[in-house]
């Protein structure tokens, strides 16, 4: 064990994801650089990562959201970009993680559609839409389980 001196203390890092036919990750990164004013922006294949003071990051995120409000998704990140404990440049090979992001980005189109539809709803329509239960999967019948179990 050795003393640990943290880097980027007091900063926040946010991921910006985009899944849009009109806006590319490069557009997002370019727009972020335009208003960066010294804040660290890292371009990625899905959008970008922004590291800076909470106010600066919030300002850039608000600017980016305007580009494609329903198709840009933002999330906090614990580690700053390039952290030796997570960065591929130091670890070598494929980086662990992003499985959750991959899984959730598959449903980004449904949520984008939902965001757009909900934005246009009146209070009554929202009440009605929210009252509709999401269908749950039927539990597997015990007889079918037994039948499967008895099969050779």
């Amino acid at each position: 064990m050795k003393p640990y001196i943290p880097e980027y203390v007091g900063t926040v890092t946010k991921y910006v994801f985009v899944d849009s036919p009109d806006t590319t990750p490069q557009d997002i990164a370019t727009a972020a650089y335009e208003v960066a004013q010294g804040v660290m922006v890292k371009e990625t294949c899905f959008g970008c990562q922004i590291t800076g003071s909470p106010e600066d990051v919030e300002r850039i995120v608000a600017h980016l959201r305007k580009l494609d409000p329903y198709r840009i998704f933002v999330k906090d990140r614990g580690f700053p970009p390039g952290d030796a404990r997570r960065c591929r440049a130091d670890l070598g090979g494929a980086r662990p993680g992003y499985l959750g992001h991959e899984f959730e980005m598959k449903m980004a189109r449904y949520i984008s559609y939902g965001l757009e539809a909900v934005d246009k709803m009146t209070a009554e329509e929202l009440e009605k839409a929210a009252g509709t239960p999401l269908p749950t999967e039927e539990p597997l019948d015990a007889d079918i389980v037994e039948q499967l179990f008895m099969e050779d």
Binding site: M1, K2, P3, Y4, I5, P6, Y8, V9, G10, V12, T13, Y15, F17, F73, V74, K75, D76, R77, G78, F79, D83, R85, L99, G100, H101, F103, E104, M105, M107, A108, R109, Y110, I111, S112, Y113, G114, L115, A117, V118, M121, L126, E127, A129, A130, T132, P133, L134, P135, T136
Partner: protein
């Protein structure tokens, strides 16, 4: 602005929706950030130290595996801080080892036991379900805002 715990704690969509509708999402990134920005002793690879399972004792008993107690040292303070919670039922993305599975069970149990507003739903699988998913979350978060101002 209400602090809303999101489960799965790493969820991109929940984190985005909570922040989009004007509240503060409490996810694992928040506690990881606090963890790695605190000076101490280096303990590779992820800055977990021997103290973390001890901190986790507050939420999980001593006979519970240290992996769960270590995870609870990150999630426990967030659950205590939470003023509301959004839970996705059986999310595939949180599938992992037994440590993850038991931590997830304990986490959901703690959120359900805590007397806070709670929304439980599941991921959408079509555009229509996407509308319902967003509408339910928006209504829940708007109601929190109304309660806060009342």
């Amino acid at each position: 602005m209400v602090k809303v715990f999101i489960y799965p704690a790493t969820s991109l969509m929940l984190s985005d929706l909570v922040a989009r509708y004007g509240h503060t999402p409490l996810g694992s990134a928040v506690s990881i950030r606090e963890h790695i920005q605190t000076p101490g002793f280096d303990s590779p690879p992820l800055q977990m130290t021997a103290e973390d399972p001890q901190k986790g004792l507050k939420w999980a008993a001593v006979e519970v595996p240290s992996g769960i107690r270590g995870r609870m040292s990150l999630y426990g303070p967030l659950v205590e801080e939470a003023e509301a919670a959004i839970i996705i039922d059986e999310p595939e993305l949180s599938f992992g080892c037994m440590g993850c599975a038991r931590t997830n069970e304990l986490l959901c149990f703690m959120l359900r036991e805590k007397d806070i507003p709670r929304l439980e739903l599941r991921y959408p699988a079509s555009r229509e379900e996407g509308v319902t998913f967003v509408a339910q979350i928006k209504k829940f978060l708007d109601d929190l805002k109304k309660e806060e101002t009342a």
